[in-house]
Amino acid sequence: MFASLSSKLEQVFKKLRGHGRLSESNIAEALREVRLALLEADVHFLVVKSFLERVKERAVGRDVLSSLTPGQQVIKVVHEELTALMGAKAVQLSLASVPPTAIMLVGLHGSGKTTTAGKLAWLFQREGRRPLLVAADPYRPAAVDQLQALGERLQVEVHHDGTSAVEVCQNALARLRREGFDVLLADTAGRFHIDQELMEELRVIKGLLHPTEVLLVADAMTGQDAVKSASAFDAALGLTGVILTKLDGDARGGAALSIKAVTGKPIKFIGVGEKLDALEVFHPERMASRILGMGDVLTLVERMEAAIGRERAAEVEQKLREATFTLEDFKAELRQIKKMGPLDQIFSLIPGVSRLQGLPGVELEGRGLVQMEAIIDSMTVKERRNPGIIDGSRRRRIAQGSGTTVAEVNRLLKQFHQIERLMKQFLKGGKAMKMGKGMPPFPNI
C-alpha cells in the first residue's frame, strides 16, 4: 500500500537523519523532494502546496533546528501533518438511534460501489444486524444481477423491485419496516458528477431515505480528478464520508491524502481486496505510519490475533525470540498466515520493510501454497529443524520428492529466511526503526 510514495519519502528522510545539524537549506531541499514525491503520488497539487507550507512553518522553527535530533523532529512533524491531513481520528459509521438505518453509496462508474455494499452487508451481518441490500441501479446492464449474486453468497436479502431507481428505493423503504430489517444499504448507479439529471435523482433518493450516511465510494487509484468529483458529490448531496477502494493494488495514496483535505469529509473505510471481508476501518494515524514506512503494528496485531488467536500468536512470538522457529512451524503457520491476508500486505504493516530490497514475490494463493507444503513435507525432520544443512544434493532430493524443481526449493528456503528475518526485526520493534523520541511507540507483541 502506497509503497512507491513510502520508499521515496524514506529516501528523503534517510538523508535528513544523516545530518547532525540541519540548516534551513537542508530542510528546504528535503521539502522539495517531499513535494515531488507527493505530486508523483497523485496528491492534488493544492493539497501539496498547503501541506508543505504547514510542515515548513513548523520544521524551520527554533525547537526543531536546535534539537539534538533535528532529522527525527522533521519526520515527526511530517507524520503529524500527514495524520492531520487524513483526518486525525478514525470515524465510525453513524447509525440511527432508532433502527432502521439507511445508508447510501454513491460514486463514479467502476469505483466499487456494489462490491462495497456487499462488504458492508457482511459487516452488519457479523454484528448481528439484518441488512437489506437495495439495487438502485436500473441503468448498468446486470448491475442488479451482480448485487443479487453477492446477496446470495452472503445470504442477505436483496431488493430490486421497481421501474426506476427512486421507485426501487420507495418500495425498499416500505419493506424495511414491514419485514423488520435494521439497515438499508442503497447501492446507486455509477455516474459522473457532471451529469445533472442523475445527480438530481440521487438528491431525490436522499430526500426519500433520510440516510444517516451518504458515502462516496472512490477508487484509490484516482488521479487529480479525485478531489473534483468528491467535491461535486459533496456539494450536490452533502456527503458524510468516503470509502476508498482497491487499496490492495499499488495505489500511490493521492486520493487518500487529498479527499479529506479538500472536502473535509472523513475516510471511514478502505477496501483491501476482492473478498467480502476485505474492508478495514480507516485509521489516519496508522495510515500515516504506513506511508512513512513505519509499518502499522496495531493493524498487524489485530490481524494476527483474528487469524491465529492470542495464544498461538504468543507462542510464535516466543519461538521467534528464542530463534527456535523452524520450517515445521513455518509450515504450520502457512495456512494461518494466509488468513491474515496476502503476504505483501502483511509485510507492508511491518516497520522498516519497505527498506528491504529485493523481496521476492511470496505466493500463497492456490497452487503456490500446496507446492510449499509439498516441499516441506519432502524434507526430513532434521532438515526441517535445521535448514542450514540442506545442501545441493539434499535440495535435489527434496525437489524430486515434492515434484518441484531445485529452483523452487531454493525459493522456499529464501522465503523462509526472509520471513524469519522480518519477524525478528518486527519483534525488535521501535528500536530497529531508529525513530526518535516522540514517535508513536511500537508495542511488542
Partner: protein, 307 residues
Amino acid sequence: MSEQKGLLERLRRGLRRTQEAFLGPLEDLLGSPRMDSGLLEELEELLITADIGVITSERILEKLRRDLGRKELSDPRRLRDYLREEIASLLGQVASREPPYPTRPWVVLFLGVNGCGKTTTIGKIAWRHRQEGKKVLLAAADTFRAAAIEQLQIWGKKAGADVVSHRPGADPSAVIFDALKAAKARQMDLLLIDTAGRLHTKRNLMEELRKVKRVIGREATEAPHEVLLVLDATMGSNSLTQAREFHQALGVTGLVLAKLDGTAKGGALIGIVDELKIPVKYLGIGEKLDDLEEFEPESFAEALLIP
C-alpha cells in the same frame, strides 16, 4: 468532412473539462508578458493537474527550456501551439495496427483492472464492427465477478453479437477454448474476449492471464492478434504502472481510454505511449453503444489545448 468535424466536436465535448482545468490557467499564463522560471513552474503544475504526471511533465518542460532560445517562444502566446505539437508528436510516435482482418477469426483479448470499463468497451467495439457488417463473437471469460457474464450478454444483445459463456466460477481458459472453436466453425470475423478485472499487482491473477493467452495461442495461430488494455481516464499516474505491468506480462498491442466523458483528463496517456510505445486505439466517451471514437493524436492534442 462534416463527419471529421463531428468527431472533433465530440472529442472536445469529452475533453471539455480537461480544458477548463487546463486552459483557464493556461490563458492566464499566456497573458503574462514574458517566459520566466515562475511561469515554467506554474506550467509544470498545470501539466500535473492534467494528470500528465511529474516525469512526463518534466520531459516536456525540459524540451521547452531547450527550445526557448531557438524557437520564437519568447512570446508566450506561441506556447499553446508548441505544447499541442509536442503532445501530438509524443502520442503519435507509434502507429496502431489496423485490422483489415487478414486472419479469421481476428482474436482480441481485453485486459484491465477492476471497474475500468472492459465489458462496456467490448460492447461498443462489437457494435462498431457489426455496423460494418462483420460477424462478431464475444467470449465471457470473466467468470469471477458476480454477474459479469450477464453484463456481457446484455451488451452482446444490444450490439447484435452472440456470447459464448460458461457458468460463473468456470475456468476462463475453457470458455476461451470453446469460443475459439465456435468462432472458427461459424466463420466469425472477430472474436472479442472479456477477462476478469484484476489489479496488476496480483501475481497469481496475472499468471492466470498468461495461461489464457497461451491457450489462445495454442488453439489459433498467431492469436491473440491484439491485446487491448482498457484504462480508466479518471486514474492518475497509476495507469502508467498498470500499463507497464500488463505489458510486461502479456505484451499489450493497443490501449483504450475509457470514461473520458467526466471531468477526467486522461493526461496519463501521454506518459504511457511515450514510455511503452503502445498505440492508443479508441477513446470511450459515454455510456451508449456509439460512444467510442478512434484515437487520433492530432485531434486529441488539439481538443486538449484549443478551447
